[in-house]
Amino acid sequence: MQKLTRSFNASSRDLLFATLLVTPALAVLVSLSIYPLLYSIQIALQTDGPAGPTWSFANFSRLAGDNFFLAAMAHTFIYSAFALTFEFVLGFALALILNSTIRGQRVFRAAFLIPMMIPPVVVGVVWRLMLNPNFGAVNGVLRQLGINTEQLTWTASPRLALAAVIAVDVWQWTPFVFLVLLAGLQAIPQEPYEAARVDGSNAWQTFRHVTLPLLKPAILIVLLLRTMDLLRVFDQIFILTEGGPGFATETVSLYIYRAAFRFSDFGYAAAMSFVLLIITNLISAIYIRLLQSREGVA
């Protein structure tokens, strides 16, 4: 965040003007995010009894004993951890490689745009088709390479389904990591590198002590945004596997969706949403703390 160096003198007329400009947007945000949150606290804490709604923690205590919820949690974390690791390592490697070659970057950028921009639903449909064991392109290619694909049923196999949905996410979002990190790399000035060269640093030392610290803000932002997106994943999995086979790829978002909109169990869905919200908030708070500690040093 940039600290504003110079500002208009905040006369009372300006203050009124500033407030007037910001109020409509705040009103919309309050009614579409704060109010719904309070509303969902209310429905999570109310259970319908014979004598009208009563307040209790029943929905929350039910959570702890719900093995499906715990399994969905586990899937969400496994999914997020693996996808984040692959996306980050691949994206970072690509950014480092392409940063040193100036030519071809524009073409790469344009090509890399495509997966991110495709509607997630379409991504799901296309991959569901490509992963089809009988006529899908993935197994088609493998068969032509002489690989036995009988066991590779992808989204129909409990063991492969989670790997398949992770692979699809990696396919779709590695370009994002790449593009942001490449932009970060290109914003680093040349002087520190020249200084490192004068000092006789080898390539690893230069990377470790020059590139990495200067790229830290971009790295943290990319990790923050990806983590938040991964923890709430819904669209692609909903289309690709519908959480199946069985329960193999059910994530928290899907489980909440099912509880609310298939079983009309809104109170329980709201309680689960809260747990998800608290977890994502904690994680984003850690990232933001790391980002700000960087600003404090600089």
Binding site: A25, L29, L37, P120, V121, I221
Partner: protein, 247 residues
């Protein structure tokens, strides 16, 4: 795939290039089935919600970028606005569904326009705030000295300068609204308010999947997005990182 006849779709080994192209799937999807209607809904919802978010968000962003509010409120508000963007969508989907039900707005385009406006607003505020901060203040001060009102200075002096940024922000909002799935799935039930992604998804979960039709619909859903994405290529990184990294 959308151009292949069904015989060719299921050929083994797959026929990549040498098949007889056909447009019948496009015809069936958009003429016989209701995909035209989904397309219209998607377009209306995306444009209307983008417009609302841009107006509200740009004004707020200008205020937050230019004025120091007491108690550091400008910075605190900016951060709070950003944090609303971090909510997992499913968390607000449940209460918003119930609210829209109470307001009798379920299964209307209006409900989607309202929800997407709120969804895009934090993004617009952050992007536009970044662009406004980059505009030198002297220009506005000159306009104010010349007797322009604050709003006049914003309209005549500042907005033209940030126009490319505004356009890029608009395109991002359009893409987000166009691609959004969860709220559209939750808030709509019939063809009258379904967007293209929900329409496509509705066909997938049936037992027999008409891949040709699906692919035709998917292709139509992708084309405007790709056209838009090429337009904003320059601002892509900035937009995707919520203005945090300047590409």
């Amino acid at each position: 795939m959308s151009l292949k006849r069904e015989v060719d779709q299921f050929a083994n080994p797959p026929r990549w290039l040498f098949f007889r192209p056909t447009l019948e799937h496009y015809y069936e999807a958009f003429v016989i089935q209701s995909f035209v209607q989904y397309l219209i809904t998607s377009a209306i919802v995306a444009v209307a919600s983008t417009a609302c978010a841009l107006v509200l968000g740009t004004l707020a962003a200008y205020s937050l970028a230019r004025f120091e509010l007491p108690w550091n409120l400008d910075r605190k508000l900016s951060l709070w606005i950003l944090s609303t963007r971090m909510f997992p969508a499913i968390v607000t989907a449940v209460p918003l569904f119930l609210m829209m039900r109470d307001l009798r707005l379920l299964d209307t385009r209006l409900s989607l326009i309202i929800v997407y406006t709120g969804f895009n607003l934090p993004f617009v505020v952050w992007m536009m705030r970044g662009f406004f901060v980059e505009v030198p203040r002297d220009l506005e001060e000159a306009a104010l000295v010349d007797g322009d009102s604050r709003l006049g200075a914003l309209w005549r002096v500042v907005l033209p300068l940030v126009a490319p940024g505004l356009a890029a922000t608009a395109v991002f909002c359009l893409i987000v609204s166009w691609n959004e799935f969860l709220f559209a799935l939750v808030l709509t039930q019939t063809d009258q308010a379904m967007t293209l992604p929900v329409g496509i998804a509705g066909r997938v979960t049936q037992y027999e999947i008409k891949w040709g039709i699906m692919s035709a619909a998917g292709a139509v859903a992708i084309i405007p997005i790709l056209a838009f994405a090429l337009v904003v290529q320059k601002y892509l990184v900035r937009g995707l990182s919520l203005g945090a990294v300047k590409g």
